[in-house]
């Protein structure tokens, strides 16, 4: 049993992993330090961001009927970051732990909220699962090498089944189906969207266009997350209706929201830098040793100052 990825992935392929068990692994200082740094970043994502956001999200979602549309909308956005940091945090810890021992596991998350389309989102989110479904289900069904209507069915079916993989609950199935629906619509409307983009001159302002696409993709993902987080389909529908009505006062738990805002801002700054400058999985990289080490010390200080140490479970341990 290879413990780092045993409980919640990344879901490795035998051709990638098995041969590593028969190879000799040597002590390599840089590799071990990188592995430890990745574990630290994963711990930060879990304790400082995910568990902090969970306090507000759980308070709201566990009593959804008592909260306004504005509060439910905010809680949904926070949940989007909570589930990302919880799962990606665990993946980073697993990958980092494996790296320390000399094993290479696949990347499982690649900054998914910088995606400009749902299709891109699924190339960046839970990569090990989505590629598994692509290789073993989507391609087996014929992929896109079938008639166009059959292709749409394949897309929809694969994502609905991936929802079922998460649990035997209608909420997960609907979540999967919604993502399948997004992909089908994206394919069907591709040309129209291109033409609309040209019509309103969005193609001439690529940076604004990127931001617009990233925001739209994030909103679509958040809508689907409502069903993933809700306890039942009826609760999810109630939440969606409340969010659309957008009435009532915002529930303000000032300390938790302040810590949450800081955590999300910190995450976005790091990931923005990684996405557009350094293209790495490690949060800090500098040619100056002292600067880089100080950055990791700063990370540990933030973790001790604002991390949530109540021993909460990882969300994906249940799947």
């Amino acid at each position: 049993m290879f413990y780092p990825q045993l409980v919640a992935g990344p879901i490795e392929r035998p051709q990638n992993l098995l041969h590593q068990f028969y190879e000799k692994h040597y002590f390599e200082y840089e590799r071990i330090i990188e592995g430890l740094k990745l574990m630290l970043w994963g711990l930060f994502m879990k304790l400082v961001i995910a568990d902090r956001l969970a306090i507000y999200v759980n308070t709201v979602y566990n009593h959804a009927g008592q909260h306004s549309g504005k509060t439910l909308a905010l809680a949904t956005i926070l949940f989007a970051f909570q589930i990302y940091c919880d799962f990606a945090g665990y993946s980073n810890i697993a990958i980092g732990a494996a790296k320390v021992m000399g094993f290479k596991l696949m990347t499982n998350f690649n900054r998914p909220y910088f995606s400009r389309s749902i299709s891109e989102f699924w190339k960046r989110w839970h990569i090990s699962l989505s590629t598994w479904f692509r290789d073993y289900l989507y391609i087996s069904l014929g992929g896109n090498r079938v008639s166009v209507p059959r292709w749409y069915v394949n897309l929809f079916l694969v994502f609905t089944i991936s929802g079922l993989w998460h649990g035997a609950n209608w909420t997960y199935i609907i979540w999967g189906a919604i993502n399948g629906f997004y992909l089908v619509i994206a394919v069907v409307t591709e040309k129209w969207r291109e033409n609309i983009g040209k019509f309103i001159y969005l193609d001439r302002v690529p940076k604004i266009n990127n931001v617009f696409q990233i925001l739209i993709t994030f909103v679509l993902a958040c809508f689907a997350w409502v069903f993933f987080r809700a306890e039942s389909a009826s609760q999810a529908l109630y939440i969606v209706k409340s969010i659309i009505a957008f009435k009532g006062p915002l529930f303000v738990d000032a300390p938790q929201l302040a810590y949450s805002a800081f955590a999300i801002l910190f995450l976005l700054l790091i990931e923005f830098r990684l996405e557009y400058r350094h293209h790495s999985q490690l949060p800090f990289k500098s040619k100056y040793w002292f600067v880089e080490q100080s950055a990791y010390v700063f990370l540990i200080v933030i973790l001790l100052t604002t991390g949530v140490f109540d021993g909460s479970q990882f969300i994906y341990f249940q799947f």
């Binding site: 200082y29 300390p255 810590y259 080490q293 100080s294 010390v297 200080v301 100052t305 949530v308 021993g311």
Partner: protein, 316 residues
Amino acid sequence: MKKRIVQFVLFVLLLFFADRIIGLALKMFYVKTNFIEIAKTRYSLNSTSQDVLIFGSSRAQHHYIPDIIAQKTGLSCYNCGLGGQGLTFSYIQIHETLERYKPKLIILDLSPNLFFDPFSDQKLKIFLPYYSKDTLIRNTLTKGSPFETYKFLSAIYPYNSTIYNILIAILNNHKFNTSGYVPLSGTLDTTALTQYTHNNTQIQLPIKDARIILKIIAECKINKVNLMFIVSPAYRKSELDYQIIKQLATLSASNDIPFVDFSEIDIIRYHKEFFRDNLHLNNTGAIIFSNEIAVYLQKAEKDILKLPLKVRTEIR
């Protein structure tokens, strides 16, 4: 290889000094801050010297006005109640108090909702800075996790999640609350109240909480300090409330502790203008209730404040 060892040692030293310096800075701010939760906990553990001390959760904090009690009884009074906290918090406060001095009377406000909070243990993190103060606090904090002891190697960890409160107190120039009472404003909206339905479910006082109550009783008896339990007013009680109050009364009587149920006193009952919400009085309601408590203590003084303890179990 030598270079790597030097780099590793330098990193550890950098981390150590950052931890110590920032930990020290946080400690300096923490001991001086007047943010209500922090200041009250600090004061109740280290500095109280009043004759009458009131303990409990938010219902204690928002219901008992020490100045009124002091004026009518001639006894100094402080409200140690803190919102969101449970019985274990009160027990630790009482234990630490009795380590320092013996007040004339300890009042513990026992609300039924104290007993079913699944997050009460997590809220005990408020005692993190006092980890090294006392075995009871140390054991309480390390009970849930074998790794907790190692986290205290860090000078920062005891001040985990306090930085926001410290900053807010500085920015808003919080002053120290000398009585411990925090008034609530607003009036109850009865249309939003849950309608309780009667059922035959038997609800038991959790054993863990019953044990804590017995520990509080034992500590007060060993230290020969008068203790009484009070249930303060609620606008509307549920079946759970009635059952729990009855069990608390039985527990108190069997241990010779005065128990007085003020939850349905006529002067406050059904007056929504005295309530902020179903469980909490607003300032007007607290004034009326505190006067009732003060009058009760005046009349019962001979019984309550002299030894041996006189048993009185009253449903008012």
